[in-house]
C-alpha cells in the first residue's frame, strides 16, 4: 500500500531530484507532476531537461506534466512535494493546502511563519504538531510543512548535538556552496570558473533565522526561537554538489572536541526510509569531509563533520551535506515520511 503523491515544480534541479528519490520509494507513488505552463501537456521526459547522471525513471518519463494548480492533481493524492520559486510557492501552496493537500515544501516562502512547521525530522520532529495550530488558524484540511534552506540543514544536526550537551551561545559560519543550489541556470559558467562569489542573495539571513527556529522549543502552541547569535557569510564556489561549511560555535559550558565528536557521532538517526543509518559521520582525517568525496555518504543523507577542535570560546568544525539531497529534495521526502509516520496523511 503506497501513498499517492504529486510533485509540483517537477522540472527544476530540485524537482528532478524529487523524482529521482520518489520513483523507487517504498511508501510513495508519483501520480501527478506539474510545472510552469510552458511545460504543461508535454511528457516529463520532454519537459525536464534532465541533468542527473542517471537515466530518467522509465515510468515517470512518460507521464504528462500538468500546470501547477490544485485542479491538475487528482483527489486521491494525499501529499504534494513542492519545489517552486519562492514567489510562485507563496502564491500557490496555500491553494493546495486549502484544497486539502498536505504540502511538504522546499520553497523558501513561509519558512519563518509562526504557524508553519520548519522541520529536520531527526532534529525537531515535535515541531510538526504546529500543523494543528496552523489548521485551527487557517481552516485548512491540508497542511504546509517546510524544510529549511540547504545551507542551514548542513550545519543544524552537528549544532543540535552541541547545543543539547553544552548550550550554544554564538555561531559564525562561512559556507562554500555548490552551484546546483542555485538551480540549473542560476550560476553561469563565466561567473564561477576560476572564481568564487562571496554573496548569495538572502542566504545569510536564512541561515541566521532558520537555524534559530529549528533549534527552538515548541510548547504545543508556538516555537520559541533559540536565542543564540548567528552570523553567516555565504560563498559560491565551482563545485557541482555538496555544501561545505566552516563553523565556530561558542558554548555556555566547556565542551572538548572529543566530547563533541562523541555527541555528534551518537546523535540519533530515525527509522524513516530516507534517514541514514548514521546521521552525523565525524572524520578523523583533518582534510575531510570534501564535497566530491563525501557528499554521497548515506545515499547523500548523511551530514559529514571534520576538523573538530577547540577555540578560546568553544568549538570549531567543518561540516558537509549534499545540498540537493539532504539539503533539499531528500529533506522534503524525509518530511513526507515523517508526516506519514505521525499520522498526518
Amino acid at each position: 500500500m503506497t501513498v499517492k503523491v504529486g510533485v509540483i515544480g517537477a522540472t527544476g534541479a530540485v524537482g528532478q531530484r524529487l523524482v529521482q528519490l520518489l520513483a523507487p520509494h517504498p511508501e510513495f507513488e508519483i501520480t501527478a507532476l506539474t510545472a510552469s505552463s510552458s511545460s504543461a501537456g508535454k511528457t516529463y521526459r520532454e519537459a525536464a531537461k534532465w541533468r542527473i547522471d542517471a537515466p530518467v525513471p522509465e515510468d515517470v518519463g512518460a507521464m504528462e506534466v500538468g500546470e501547477t494548480d490544485p485542479s491538475a492533481v487528482p483527489d486521491d493524492v494525499a501529499l504534494v512535494f513542492s519545489s517552486l520559486p519562492s514567489d510562485v510557492g507563496a502564491a500557490v501552496e496555500p491553494d493546495f493546502c486549502e484544497a486539502g493537500y498536505v504540502v511538504s515544501s522546499n520553497s523558501s516562502n513561509a519558512r519563518r511563519a509562526e504557524d508553519v512547521p520548519l522541520t529536520v525530522p531527526e532534529v525537531n520532529p515535535d515541531h510538526l504538531d504546529l500543523i494543528e495550530v496552523q489548521r485551527d488558524r487557517r481552516g485548512w484540511d491540508g497542511a504546509l510543512v517546510k524544510n529549511p534552506n540547504c545551507s542551514t540543514i548542513t550545519m543544524v544536526p552537528p549544532l543540535a548535538a552541541v547545543d543539547d550537551a553544552a548550550g550554544l551561545e554564538r555561531v559564525e559560519v562561512a559556507t562554500l556552496q555548490a552551484v546546483s543550489g542555485a538551480g540549473y541556470s542560476g550560476v553561469s559558467s563565466m561567473e564561477i570558473i576560476d572564481n568564487a562569489i562571496p554573496y548569495i542573495g538572502k542566504e545569510e539571513g536564512k541561515m541566521e533565522t532558520e537555524s534559530r527556529k529549528l533549534l527552538g522549543t515548541f510548547d504545543g502552541a508556538e516555537v520559541d526561537w533559540h536565542d543564540m547569535d548567528v552570523a553567516a557569510s555565504c560563498n559560491r564556489i565551482p563545485t557541482i554538489d555538496g555544501h561545505l561549511e566552516n563553523v565556530w560555535a561558542d558554548t555556555a559550558e566547556e565542551f572538548s572536541p572529543e566530547d563533541a565528536t562523541e555527541a555528534m557521532t551518537d546523535y540519533p538517526s530515525l527509522d524513516l526510509p530516507s534517514s541514514p543509518d548514521q546521521l552525523i559521520e565525524v572524520f578523523e582525517e583533518p582534510d575531510r569531509p570534501q564535497p566530491r568525496l563525501d557528499r554521497t555518504l548515506g545515499e547523500g543523507m548523511t551530514v559529514s563533520v571534520g576538523g573538530v577542535q577547540d577555540t578560546t570560546h568553544g568549538l570549531q568544525f567543518n561540516c558537509l551535506a549534499h545540498n540537493t539531497l539532504r539539503g533539499a529534495a531528500g529533506a522534503s521526502v524525509l518530511n513526507g515520511e515523517l508526516l506519514l509516520d505521525t499520522g498526518y496523511l
Copy 2:
C-alpha cells in the same frame, strides 16, 4: 643607479613571480639566480618550467642558474630575495645573512622569531628596526626580513584599519585559497576539480600568530604581540590565483560599517614603487571582490574588501588579495624597497 639583487629559489611558483616583478624593476637589477642542484648550470629558461601567462623576461631567461649557496652569489649583490621551502630556508638563509647579504624572504621559517622583523610595509614599517636587535644578537653584517604568509597578508591591512580606530578583540576568518599558494605541484587536479579541501597544513596557525605579531607594538627592543584572539579555518578551492576571505572582527568600541569603510579606504599607502595608489579598495557591490575579477587590481598589490556589515559584536567583511603578488613575491619586493628606502641597503 640600480641595486644588484639575487633571487634564491628562483624556479618555483613564487620565484617566477619574483623574476617577473624584478626584471623591469626601476630600483633593482637581477644579477644572480639560484635553485636546487638539479637546476644549477642550466639557463633560467631551461630550469624554470615557466607557467606565468606572459613570456619569460628575455635577459633573465638567458642567465645561468647557480646552486643555492652564498658562494653562488656575487659580492656586489646587496639584497637577496628568498622563496625557498621552509626547511631549506631555515638551513640556508642564515648563511646568506652571515655572508653579509640582506635577505628579504617569503619562506615561512623564522617568521615568529623574536629578532626577525615580519613586515607589511604599509602596516608596520617601524618593525624593520628590529634588524638592529638582530644584528646585535647574531653578529650578522646582513639581515633577515620576512613577509607574512599569503593568507595573513590578505586580511591584515583591513584589520589594521579597524584596529587603529576601534580596537580588535577577536577575529574569526575563513579562507577560500587559490591553488597557486601551494606551488606548481602542490595540489593535484584530481584533488580539487569539483571539490574543496577544508585543510591546509599549518596555515591556520600561521594566520593566528603572524597577524598578532604584525599588529603588535615595537618598542625598539621587542615586538609586543597584539592580544586579540584569532581563529582561522582554511580551505583550498579550484581557483588559480587570489585568496578570498570571510572575516568577523569583534571590536572594543562600536564601529559602523560606514566608518569601517572610510577607515579602510583612507588607510594610507606608501610611495614605494610596488605600493599601489590605493592600498585597500572597498566595493559597494555586495558580490565583490571576486578572485577572477579583482585579483589584479593595483597590479595585484591592492587588497579588495566588500560586504562590510555589522554584527552583534562588531563587523563582518570579505577581503581578497592576489596570493602570489601582494601575498608573496610582491610582498618580498615591497620589503626590499622599504629596506632600500630606510637605508638598510
Copy 3:
C-alpha cells in the same frame, strides 16, 4: 583626428570587449552606445554587468546607452561596431547601412551573403572591395562588413599559410572552445563543471562554410569559395577564454612540418593598430599552445600554433586564439581599421 564610432549591442560579452578595445584606441572615439530597450536611458556602467578583469573605462562608463536604432546614433559617427544576437543583427544592421553608417559586424547573420565581405584583414583584405558590389546592388551609402566566427578565425591564418604553399584539399578540425564564446549566460555552470559538451549549435556549419569563403578568390565581382572539404566537430570545455583546435590538413603537394612552421611564422601581419607584430607564433614545445598560458599573446591578437607534424595525407597541428579578442571584438576592430586604412570611412 579620431573617427567617431558607435557600438551597437554594447553590453554583452563581446560588446564589453569592444568597449575595452575602443576606449583607448588611437584612431577611434566612442560617441554612441546602444543596447536593448531595457538598458536604454541608463549609464553604460549601470546597463552593462561588466565582467572583464579590468575596470570599466571611466569616460565610457558615464555615457548614456541608447536603444539599438539608427536614430540613437549621431550623424557624425562614421563607423558602427555591431555585436548583436544574429536575429537582431539581421533585422537592424541593414537599417544602419541604409542610414549611411559603415557597420563592422561580429554578428553571424549575413556572413555568407554574396555581396557581404567576410574578412580577416591579414588573410583576405582584398575581399573588402566587395563593398562596391554591395553598394551597387543595395543602394546603400553605408556598408556591411563581417568578421567570421571565433572558431573559424582561429584556424584560418595557419590554414592560409598552408594553402598558399601547398594547396589545401581537405580539413578536419576538432575544437575545444571556451565558455565566453557563448556570452555571459550562454553556458550554465551546472552544464560545464567537470564536463565537456560535444555540440555547439550551428558552429560546425559556420566553420565549414566561412573558412571556404575566407580562403576563396575575389575577382572584383564575386568570391569564388575555396573547394576544400571541411569537417568540423565542436566542443565546449570549462575554460573562460581561448579556443584551442586540433587540425588535420590534407595538402595537394607534400609539405614538411618544418616548411609549414616556416610558412606560418613568416605569414605577414599588417601595420594596423590592432594587428600583432607576429600574426602566427609557432611553439616548439609539444604541449603548447594552451588557453590559459597563451591566449593573451600579442595582446590577444596572435594566433598560436603547436604540435606541427606530418600525417600520411598532409599535416596535423594545434592552434589557439583568444576568442573574444582575435575571435570577435578584436576582429571587428581590425576590420574597422582596415576600412579606415583603405578609405572606406
Copy 4:
C-alpha cells in the same frame, strides 16, 4: 567457488578502481595486494590514499600490502591484475608469468608485442589464443594478457561496428581526456584549471597502433594488424573521469548514419559479469554523450556514442567511456573474466 586473485600496483588510481571492482566480484576474491616498497607492510587503508567517492571495501582495507614481487603472492592465486607504471610492468610482469601466474595487465608495456594478446573481450576475444603462441615461445606456465590504453578502448567498439559493415580506411580522432587518466598526481591543478593541454606523452602513438592491432585478424599464429590509417590528437581537459572523443571514419563502402547507428546499437555484448547489457549506447540528442552525465552508464562499462553524421568521405561521431572503468580497471577485470570463461585459469 571463487578464483583467488592478486592486485599488483594496488594503490594507484587504477589500482584503487581494481580493488573497488574486485571486492564485490562474484567470481574473484582478492587475497594479495602489492605496491612499491614504501607501502609494503602497511594495511591497504594506510597505504592507499583512497580517492574514490565510496568507502574503501572493509575487508580489503585491513589487508597487508606486500612488495611487488611474485614471492609476495600466495601460490593459490591464479590470476594477477596489474596496473603498474610501464617501466615497472616491463621489469616485473614477466617474473610473475614465469612463476606461473596469469597476468591481466593494464600497464602499457608489451601491448604491441607479437605474442601478447591485446584484447577488448566484446571486440576481439579470439586474440586471447595468442597465449598458446606466447607459452610456446617463452616457456611460461603463466601468461600475459593486455587491455589497450583508455583512449583507444573508447573508440574501438564503435569503430569495430563500422569496420564490420563498411570497412575502415582512415580514422582521425581528437580526444578530450579526463585527469584521472594520468593518475593521482599526474596533472597538477595549476596546469589544468581554466585550461586544456594539447599533448599527452605517447598517447597518440598508442591510439594509432593499438587500434590497428585490436581490429586486426588473428589466424592462430599471429595478428595481422588492420591497415587503416589512424591519426590521433590528444588533449587533457579539466574533467575528473570520462574520455570524450571526436572521430572521423572514412569507409570503403557508403554507410549512412542511420545504418551506423543501427550497427553500433546492435553490436553484441557478452555474458561476462562486467560486460554491460548494452555495449554501445547511441544517443539521439546532439549534445550527448557528456562526461559528467554519461560516464557511469552500464556501471561505467558502456561506450556512449552521439552526433553520428555523414561526411564526404564516411562518418563523423563522438564517443565516450569511463576511462578508469571501461578504459582501465574494468577492462582488466573483463579480460580476467574472459580468461576464466575460456579456461585459461
